[in-house]
């Protein structure tokens, strides 16, 4: 990166008493990014976000936002705003007063406050609800008030703590795209915490996968999915078939790997220089499943019909059990594969991900 990053997190550690919440994180986030911190509960993602907001201070390391060291800078003096998981709307104020709150703290003239509040409410399509109280609004409307309140101050970074967790599924999917659209329009960097991998994949330009207070992998959604760097990431993001193997030879970017679970020696096209014992990941949609085609023989143990696709649990002759997904492209599938059918599975050397065990 040639331009200095908007946010630089350097060797940040956070301890609460004996508990190590964040165990040494280094991370750069650029301007205009929609960055997702993805992890399970207790992974340290929320603590990291709260340290960016200034509610918690790092035990070690430092955080630099737009060139300024944030050590000792209280939340009210930081160029960031946060959208809370609970929305944290002030129940004793109208929607307009909620949005105006941050601007009033800056001591701006009344007319400018009114204009900017109107703009922000227009942006989230809540102009008509300006005089309502938060408890008079639906969940989706509250979410948008919280958003308007957080962006009206034009922060350099918008922090979002599980922004859509409280919405039902349909609304959540629609709102994800609206948020992305808004982020592009405003050009503000978004840093979002989520435990929902679909949400992170849908929205983020880059994702940091966190586990036990550390960042396990940082990358674009495609990199994280197609090139996981560890079993943890492969397992955490999407479905993964994971096998163990041993590298036997390497030539022209092709690894030969002894993998008993996949019937002996397999090939992998990869740039990794892994040697010795390795883990092999093949995503379920990368397998081709057929009754007559070539490939490893196996038996279908179970079929999970999901509408758009089906998940086949296949017991291979080698003893391994794999999951294969297939789109249900044909409404009346003539060659339907059912439970108990003998099948063959094949895959290309391209779709094999190899990582150190």
């Amino acid at each position: 990166m040639t331009t200095p990053p908007l946010i630089r997190i350097e060797r940040v550690v956070k301890r609460f008493g004996d508990v190590l919440a964040v165990a040494g994180v280094d991370l750069d986030i650029a301007r205009g990014e929609l960055f997702a911190l993805l992890g399970g509960s207790g992974s340290g993602k929320t603590t990291l976000l709260r340290m960016l907001a200034g509610f918690d201070m790092p035990t070690e390391g430092r955080i630099v936002i737009d060139g300024a060291d944030m050590a000792g800078v209280p939340p009210y003096a930081r160029p960031v705003n946060m959208m809370f998981q609970s929305y944290a709307l002030f129940p004793h104020m109208s929607v307009a007063r909620n949005v105006a709150y941050g601007l009033e703290r800056e001591g701006l003239p009344r007319s400018e406050i009114t204009d900017r509040v109107d703009q922000a409410l227009e942006l989230v399509q809540l102009g008509a609800q300006a005089n309502r109280r938060p408890h008079q609004l639906s969940g989706g409307q509250r979410q948008r008030v919280a958003l308007a309140r957080a962006i009206v101050k034009r922060p350099k970074v918008l922090l979002l703590d599980e922004p859509l967790a409280a919405l039902d599924r349909k609304l959540r999917e629609r709102t994800q795209l609206e948020l992305v659209e808004l982020q592009r329009r405003l050009g503000i960097a978004f840093v979002m915490v989520t435990h929902d991998q679909d949400e992170a994949m849908t929205m983020a330009t880059r994702i940091a996968v966190m586990d036990h207070g550390r960042i396990v992998q940082v990358g674009t959604p495609a990199e994280i999915y197609e090139q996981p760097n560890s079993r943890f990431v492969a397992d955490f993001i999407g479905l993964a078939n994971i096998f163990e193997g041993e590298v036997t030879a390497r030539a022209d970017g092709v690894l030969r790997i002894a993998c008993p679970a996949l019937g002996g020696e397999i090939h992998a096209v990869t740039s990794t220089s892994a040697a010795g014992p390795v883990a092999i990941v093949i995503r379920p949609e990368k397998f081709a499943l057929g009754k007559d085609a070539g490939g490893l023989p196996g038996t279908v143990r179970n079929v999970v019909y999901l509408g758009d696709e089906s998940v086949f649990h296949v017991a291979l002759k080698t003893g391994a059990e794999i999951q294969v997904t297939r789109m249900n492209a044909d409404r009346r599938d003539a060659g339907a594969i059912n439970r108990g059918d003998a099948v063959r599975v094949a895959w290309s050397a391209d779709s094999v991900v190899v990582m150190p065990r």
Binding site: S86, A88, Q136, S138
Partner: protein, 278 residues
């Protein structure tokens, strides 16, 4: 339901309410009695109401009680709320459990003991420094020590389920700690402060024991006056006083109930409206 059961239930209901309210009703009725004997009805009259209004002692005692109760309400709310904040917000400071126990002690300690303790303190203080003269000040201080504990408990429990992210949001939007308190925390705990104030006011208004110990020879609160005059024989003026108190308290309860009912109706309408826009 058979007629018999229904009549039985109705009887039980009537009996229950009679048990609660007949004494009060009869007291009210007898405040309009002509006779100077409380128990003998001698016809309707406003004679004792007139006597009551001309009774300097009674009015003076009522005024003293009222002043003490108001001062007590404010000071106890301030002190109690501060203690409640400390208990709710700094959960890890050293000696928190001891402090917490000490705050609750006045709630369970016999008032007689608190009365004696306060009296001894005031006597010693007065001998050493000439202050305080026993009367308004000493009664008020004794009442404050007692009722601040109640306020502390109310505020503490209100803050226990206070959503801290509201304060964080305010701070995130640029409010300094004092502004956060003034614009977010205070308006949201205001109902708890009001009920704390009312409780402190009421505790002070009907306290006999602490006042008995800490009052000087010249000062007498209303409960003290009632208590001592009843021992000399009940005057119908007490009925008048009681009627006034019952009327005031009763109206306050009805008013509060009406306000709460209206607020609830409003919330229901809002919820209904919100459900329709979803």
């Amino acid at each position: 339901m058979t007629g018999r059961t229904s009549r039985l239930l109705l009887g039980a209901l009537a009996f229950g309410y009679a048990f609660l309210y007949v004494p009060i009703l009869s007291m009210i009725v007898y405040s309009f009695n002509e006779s100077r004997l409380v128990t003998v009805w001698a016809g309707f009259s406003l004679k004792w109401w007139g006597e009551f209004i001309r009774n300097e002692d009674m009015l003076e005692a009522a005024w003293l009680s009222f002043r003490i109760a108001v001062v007590n309400g404010f000071v106890a709310t301030l002190l109690g709320a501060s203690a409640g904040f400390a208990l709710a917000r700094y959960p890890r400071f050293a000696g928190r459990s001891i402090f917490s126990g000490l705050i609750a002690a006045p709630l369970v300690m016999p008032e007689v003991i608190m009365g004696i303790a306060s009296l001894l303190l005031f006597v010693v203080l007065e001998r050493l420094t000439g202050w305080p003269e026993r009367g308004f000040t000493t009664i008020a201080i004794a009442h404050i020590t007692f009722s601040a504990a109640f306020v502390a408990v109310i505020i503490q429990s209100r803050l226990a389920d206070f959503d801290r992210s509201l304060e964080e949001a305010a701070m995130d939007l640029g409010a300094r700690p004092f502004t956060v308190f003034r614009t977010v925390t205070l308006p949201l705990i205001a109902p708890a402060l009001v009920s704390g104030w009312l409780l402190a006011f009421t505790l002070s208004m009907d306290d006999v024991i602490l006042a008995q110990f800490t009052a000087g020879p010249q000062s007498q609160t209303l409960p003290m006056l009632v208590y001592s005059s009843v021992r000399l024989g009940v005057s119908p003026q007490i009925n008048v006083l009681a009627t006034i108190i019952v009327t005031v308290v009763g109206s306050a309860i009805v008013l509060a109930g009406w306000l709460m009912h209206r607020a609830r109706r409003q919330r229901e309408r809002d919820a209904h409206a919100a459900a329709q826009v979803t």
